[in-house]
Symmetry: D2
Subunit: 328 residues, 4 copies
């Protein structure tokens, strides 16, 4: 039995608690949250203890921690958990600063603890299937990767102001997906962006509509587009062109029903947002973390993957600011 200590009892912490509940051989023994009510509510629902974060991390009945607290707390929690020799499952982004992620990486490496950066989309059954087939050579060598992500609606302006901006908060998933699919590091980033959805986002110094072009040393190309708005559900698509063909993963719709009438044939919207769309991905990512810890294998994506996605986000932000491509 693997004993999990859950740090952060908000929405994402609850998702991870539910994933643990559906797996054999693992349980949440203790939870922590700066908000006592949140900690108590989750603890009573799943039969876990409530502890203060630092105490939880050093508890003997905690083998691994799941970090789902605000991003600015990750740094300290990772250092504490590494020092305590606990395996670490950490929400993305690891930190807003690449340098601070490097510090965490050092701490984790020196402590020799397992670490998984929770890029959930790698575990989506559709994207995972696509990537496995890509790696197996089904469409030959990768030439162009196209990634599109559109949220159903923008977050509150208050969130925008502290999120680090669209590239670090939203497109970071796509940067990780790009690396996952390209299997070669990007060497150049070019970004454009605008505030077309809500002028207030522009006034807050961010963009809500953006496109990025990545290139690799061997000439592979990746096009990414993001928007904070999609009226037809959470739009999450990937398309990869290779020397022998194309692989793409379409959206998951709310249901398979189609209606036909005078205006044509209509299917349901895409599943609304990440909790629905990535339900299986969240379950799979926890399963793979648990499996890695139990078998002694190295979890993936690693803290290095977390660092490299952050570096791409930083480069995109710089490209947008300077108007020029940024070399990595």
């Amino acid at each position: 039995m693997l004993n999990i200590g859950l740090l952060g009892c908000g929405r994402i912490g609850q998702v991870h608690a539910r994933s643990v509940g559906q797996l054999d051989g693992v349980r949440v023994t203790a939870v922590a949250d700066a908000m006592p009510d949140a900690a108590n509510a989750l603890a009573s629902k799943i039969g876990a203890d409530v502890r203060e974060a630092s105490a939880l991390i050093t508890s003997a009945d905690v083998d691994a921690v799941v970090i789902g607290t605000p991003t600015d707390t990750h740094y300290d929690l990772i250092h504490q958990a590494a020092a305590a020799g606990k395996a670490i499952f950490c929400e993305k982004p690891v930190d807003m600063s690449a340098d601070r992620i490097r510090d965490c990486q050092t701490a984790v490496t020196e402590a020799g603890v397992a670490f998984l950066t929770a890029f959930n989309r790698r575990f989506d059954p559709n994207f995972a299937n696509l990537q496995q087939r890509l790696r197996a050579g089904e469409i030959g060598d990768v030439e162009i990767v196209s990634i599109l992500s559109r949220d159903p609606s923008p977050p509150p302006i208050s969130y925008i102001k502290t999120s680090g901006g669209l590239f670090r908060d939203m497109m970071i998933h796509d940067f990780d997906m790009a690396r996952f699919l390209l299997a070669e590091e990007p060497v150049q980033v070019f970004a454009v962006g605008s505030a077309l959805v809500d002028p207030a986002i522009g006034e807050a110094g961010d963009v809500d509509t953006a496109a990025v072009t990545l290139t690799t040393a061997s000439g592979k190309i990746c096009q990414i587009s993001n928007s904070r708005r999609a009226t037809y559900g959470y739009d999450q698509r990937v398309e990869v062109h290779g020397s022998k063909g194309m692989l793409r993963a379409a959206n998951m719709l709310e249901n398979t029903v189609e209606v036909a009438g005078t205006t044509g044939f209509q299917t349901a919207p895409a599943q609304h947002f990440f909790l629905e769309r990535y339900e299986a991905a969240y379950r799979n990512e926890m399963a793979r973390f648990v499996e890695a810890v139990q078998t002694g294998n190295t979890p993936s994506p690693s803290i290095d993957d977390g660092l490299r996605a952050q570096m791409l986000a930083d480069a995109a932000a710089k490209s947008l600011e300077t108007g020029a491509p940024v070399a990595l």
Copy 2:
């Protein structure tokens, strides 16, 4: 150069004239129609002579006749053309009476002239592709055939009264398609039907909504459904299940555009009716007739195919009337 005499200058005659115009090595030299205006209009458009039907049939500059006149005139025209030794392309149905079709068959056989029964759907690129792959064994042995045909809207009641009824006028295409796909003669027909679209159709003694089940000696099953109404365009689909898989042909839509919004994803309606949907089929059927006549091969579908489809329609009408399955 193959010289065609066109009998009937109405809508379907004009379709065939256009098909001839798009083919090399063939031309329409003369046309005939009981309505002089119709004959003159088409003749001047395509540069052909206008003649009286009997004279046209025996003309030296007519190698083959295309019969697109009202059904009750086919019998005489076929006999005249056979007597004159002309190749015959005849619209379906050959005749309303199976016995009279047998008479025609005798005349055609004795004269040794080429004869094609114009079941246009066999030449639709989709259905033709499906049937070729079926014959090539792509899904193994046929087990269940499902055919669905729905017209966009019912014809005038005046047409209903003289058409021979839904089974002989509309479903006859599906009976031919069933034989084309089953590759084994049906031995039993069971039909049900109702007047759900327009009560006046029921008062005229016909049905506008019907379903038929065919079975063959080896146990293959075919389900057909027809309706005189489809709000979303001309619905024309075929699905075949075999021992190794399934082949189906979907509708052709007006275009490939899809719009996404709050209610989901919407594509265009199906192409409106037979002139659009079967444009390529009409062209291909004429090309195949011309090719057969020019090479001396036997055209297909034959007059026997025309007879057998009519026998199935008769059996379906009898089944509907008696409420019992009819053996063939």
Copy 3:
């Protein structure tokens, strides 16, 4: 908290136990199975007691029973549970004999206990969505219903011999779906069938490929087809034509990935079988049962629904035997 006693710990009993585990306000307190090992295994996994069936039914800590035992035991268990005043969730078919179902119906009605016949497909998110929209009038009045069910592969011959045959064991789901969608009782059943998948099924007196036509008093038509074989996954589709358009529910595929190459565009097979395809349906049907019991509402589908589906299956079997349509 609603306390459930689970009768039958085989595959379907385990499915229901899992559904209960995912719902709030309900738990399994006791389980029973003729096989002690099966009962013990499930009990230890979910923290329930093991009891003998009759004792379980009369237990004070059991408010409702879930009957997932072999069909021939349903009759006695239903009578016992009704006598004990317990709410009853019963797997389909309620019984192989319509007369015995009527006996059960009397017992249940006289005891005034809640009863749900577990036709799981009514709770599939796709079919449920389609039926709600149909009832809401989205496509006007129903005219033709088409239902297709194909299992990935046939069950063992030993099962075939005791299952009551394809109409009572497999197509019974489609008969219930037909009633669910037609919203009008069929008055006539016509069936055809063959043993095309495996001759041994024919030797066992059953068919593995079948088609049924239902008609209602107002002239609505339903076409059903079944096969024990589908190489591309569990094929489960419904299509309804109404006066204003068409509603259909497509298969759920294993994933949304599509690959393109020289032979075209390929998507994944359909989800393999009922445990995957109807995972959400099983969860929803238990949720609706629990909700009905807790609120005092009448669960649906009722025991009468179970009876009427069985009557349609009996009629289909008789039609196949006699070769004639059977009136209801």
Copy 4:
């Protein structure tokens, strides 16, 4: 009757001759080609005279010229035709040099003759339908346009060497499509590209795989990708995201047949190349030219559209060369 003089009897000239043949009120009276055999073959097929180009242009029985000769001859022919007061239908690109296109523009404007730049894709029924709905506001304000074009296989290296490169020869269609859909001029172009399909293309100084990002003054974004290879047919797609939703045009497949088997569901490849895919577009573009000339309306796309697409291609080539975005 509008009399056309056809300049150039190669593949594209034959396409335009066929389009003219399918239209009422227009005919080809004379053809010219540097290759006498090509001119004679086409002339005899369509019943036209063969003339030398300059003589053809000044012929009294020529109202309009269709220019389908090699690009480097366009400049002189346009000047001659403008001087002769003939309406001009000119294949793209108008010229390889933007300055020379400006010269042509001056000549055409001063002569006051009608001029259509033959960007055939604007007349594709799918893209035309999409653009009309976009203009009608169906998805609100345009935010992101995504255009993908992939040829089935690369042209000969000899062609690559004289074509002006991928941006001027292939992506020029997409630049025009971008302008057609954005309805606002791009102000910046950023291009990346590689030779991944064939190293010989790289050695010839060109790329075969490329991606371009366009931005407009109001912040609209357009992503274009091109490749000289697509194993699954000619890939031609457009997707537009607006404030209220998304419009996209999918590929046209060879047929609507789908086969299902153990590996899933497979449809046909996309139509092979431009002659099949844009058959309707070629017919429509000629019809619109003829209609404009006959009614005295200004044809579209104009010579200015030809110029602006060329300027975008030049900017893309410069961006690729310099590695930096290029302002317009």
